[in-house]
């Protein structure tokens, strides 16, 4: 008997390992992929899910919070829904299975299952570090997804929606996406649940932006109230590449969205915007790391949180500026509108700077509704509940309005926000 087995596995840990065991023989992969899966699941079994003692999981003790994991159901079926922005091209992955029917010109895509089967996926399956629980769970269990490439110079007017829909059970998906030099596109990675049954979803996206690529990537998380969502975005920004990354959390019971990236080409720029709409008994964590590796790169990060009920939220943001990365300009802020005494938001912004000629700053605030603004709206005959909703909406809508170049997109995202607020405020 080895030592680690002395640690009693939780119900969730057991369920994850069982899910793997039950699918052995069905999970796709060549020899290398299959043996990596084995290693990852073995690590999960021996190390367990991360607890608060693991620094990067301090505010989200996954081992305690993840009480149960529904078992995988291969017969689960999710309907396709209309894209959030009318006129978008839709690539859908339903209950883990990719559908490649409507590919716009300039985009090539194939099912990630094939990359697993031919072994080309193996390098990307490695975890980011010993604390990469999402990478580990996903790498062990991933069944499908999409490998997408945008041709050099390709430009798209309408957004591309990657629709990841789940009815119940489990889905583990991957999306390696490469943007060719000078390409320009808006992509919406949309996670949604088609009914109220519990789902457990993990998803890893790996973005590579070549020189001068200009990308808006929106993660719209609209899981159901019983769902667990473990998401991870990895990104690498080449020379003069621009990424406007927007994370909108508007659903789920237990959510962790990680964003890990590096600015590895001079002139690279990241705009990170986060909107966390938190209600009920949910727990939502956005964890971000960015390393500025070369000189003359820039980033701004603004996170806006709205907390109702007993919801708990976390933002961890860490910006690393490498020794040679002079002239880095980075600004990070996290603002929370706390609308309930029982709600809670923890913000941990961090800067680790090894270069001396840089401009970096961060700040975190917690605020309440502005009483003067509220009175102004009331004094015009707007009832209090509606006036409050308008102000809460305004607090987050400012971020969406930055996408003003695409009116339909702004309208669609504002619709998501106001629909959520109508239900929770």
């Amino acid at each position: 008997m080895n030592m680690q087995q002395a640690i009693k596995m939780t119900a969730a840990e057991t369920a994850l390992v069982d899910a793997y065991t039950a699918q052995i023989g069905d999970l796709p992969g060549d020899g290398a992929v299959l043996s990596l899966r084995d290693t990852l699941v073995h690590e999960l079994k021996t190390a367990g899910l991360p607890t608060r003692r693991v620094e990067s999981w301090h505010y989200t003790d996954l081992r305690t919070l993840l009480r149960a994991v529904p078992s995988a159901d291969p017969s689960a079926f999710a309907d396709r829904v209309d894209p959030i922005v009318p006129g978008s091209s839709v690539l859908s992955v339903r209950n883990g299975q990719a559908d490649l029917k409507s590919l716009p010109e300039g985009v090539t895509a194939r099912s990630y299952t094939e990359s697993l089967l031919d072994g080309s996926a193996v390098a990307g399956l490695a975890v980011l570090g010993s604390d990469d629980a999402i990478g580990r769970i996903n790498g062990g269990l991933v069944g499908g997804g999409l490998e997408i490439a945008l041709a050099e110079g390709a430009e798209f007017e309408a957004p591309l929606e990657i629709q990841i829909a789940q009815s119940h059970g489990q889905a583990h998906t991957r999306f390696p996406v490469s943007f060719g030099a000078g390409s320009k596109a808006t992509v919406i990675e949309r996670h949604l649940s088609t009914n109220g049954d519990a789902s457990f979803v993990s998803s890893v996206t790996d973005l590579t932006l070549a020189e001068g690529a200009d990308v808006i990537w929106i993660i719209l998380q609209q899981q159901g109230p019983a769902d667990t969502h473990l998401g991870q975005i990895r990104f690498d920004l080449g020379k003069d590449a621009k990424l406007h990354l927007v994370v909108i959390n508007a659903g789920g019971k237990l959510v962790r969205q990680e964003l890990h990236g590096k600015a590895s080409g001079e002139g690279a720029d990241l705009t990170l915007r986060g909107i966390n709409l938190l209600g009920g008994d949910s727990h939502t964590d956005v964890t971000f790391t960015l390393s500025h590796d070369v000189p003359h790169t820039t980033s701004t990060e603004i996170i806006r949180n709205v907390v109702f009920d007993r919801a708990k939220g976390v933002f961890q943001g860490k910006i690393l500026v490498a020794k040679d990365a002079q002239k880095t300009d980075a600004k990070m802020s996290c603002n929370t509108l706390l609308l309930s005494d029982e709600g809670d938001f923890s913000a941990k912004p961090e800067l680790e700077i090894f270069a001396d000629d840089v401009q970096c700053g961060h700040g975190a605030t917690v605020i309440d509704i502005d009483h003067t603004q509220l009175f102004y709206l009331l004094s015009r005959g707007i009832p209090e509940n509606k006036a409050r909703a308008m102000l809460v909406n305004a607090f987050v809508a400012e971020i969406v309005e930055e996408l003003e170049a695409d009116e339909a997109l702004v309208e669609a995202l504002e619709g998501v926000i106001s629909a959520w607020l109508a239900k929770h405020a």
Binding site: H371, T372, Q373, F375, Y376, L377, L378, S379, R380, G381, I382, P383, E384, K386, A387, M390, L391, N393, A394, F395, V396, A397, E398, E401
Partner: protein, 251 residues
């Protein structure tokens, strides 16, 4: 239309009494001017009339059309026809002006049991009223009051008043920050609303505005009380001599 009887009110937070036994009656059709030194409680009175919760009424009553409004919240008072043009209009980033106007108009209509306005009808009314007040359409595309100059903010207040068609209009130093031409435009806007079933309370420091909006009555507020009332001649007297004599006589 408005009867304020022995009103005492204090700041809810720290209990400081600001309004100390104030009596004032304004009849339908009347334009009443309220004047008084800085800090005498004019803005506080206007806030209390419109239902701001930062103040607590400890004694006395406010009757509007014969009924006490003390139990009504600010939005109900507005829907019943009380409008305050703020001394310092509030900026609300993230709330579009047009959306704000539409929600306000329709919520008031709903409260009164009237049908909501259709979008074309709403647009027509806004366009017309904005043109009268010489408000540029670009201003209406910005968030509420955000980036407006002092004078633009005051004009935007009058635009809201014109659209909401209140019965009791309270103007708190609407003239401050306005250039001569804008003052005329705003005064015309107010005069256009004068009618036998509407009352206007004009808070001001200057005779200038009262040359355009001629008051029926003038009241001097000092330390939370009306210490003297008269007709428009009183305003001229104040302009010429200041408050000292009146304050002394009242002491």
């Amino acid at each position: 239309m408005l009867e304020i009887k022995n009103l005492h009110a204090r700041i809810a937070e720290d209990g400081t009494e600001i309004i100390r036994g104030l009596d004032l009656t304004v009849k339908a059709g009347e334009v009443a001017a309220i004047m008084g030194p800085n800090g005498s409680g004019k803005s506080t009175l206007s806030y209390i009339l419109s239902g701001r919760e930062d103040y607590e009424v400890t004694e006395g009553d406010i009757l509007y059309n014969g009924e006490s409004i003390l139990e009504l919240d600010a939005s109900e008072r507005a829907a019943k026809g009380i409008f305050l043009a703020f001394q310092y209009p509030v900026e609300i980033p993230g709330v579009a002006t047009m959306q704000f106007l539409k929600v306000a108009m329709n919520e008031q209509r709903k409260y009164r049991g009237e049908d909501e306005l259709t979008t074309p009808e709403f647009m027509r009314r806004v366009k017309e009223a904005a043109a009268e007040l010489k408000i540029a359409p670009e201003m209406l595309r910005r968030p509420v009051n955000v980036g407006f100059s002092g004078g633009e903010k005051k004009r935007a207040e009058i635009l809201q008043m014109a659209l909401l068609e209140p019965k009791l209009c309270i103007l708190d130093e609407t003239d401050s920050g306005l250039d001569i031409d804008a003052l005329k435009v705003v005064a015309d806007g107010v005069n256009a609303l004068r009618s036998p079933d509407r009352a206007v309370v004009v808070i001001t420091h200057y005779q200038r505005l009262l040359d355009y909006i001629i008051p029926d009555t003038v009241h001097v507020l000092y330390k939370g009380q009306v210490i003297k009332s008269g007709d428009k001649a009183l305003a001229h007297e104040l302009e010429a001599n200041g408050y000292a004599d009146i304050i002394e006589a009242a002491a």
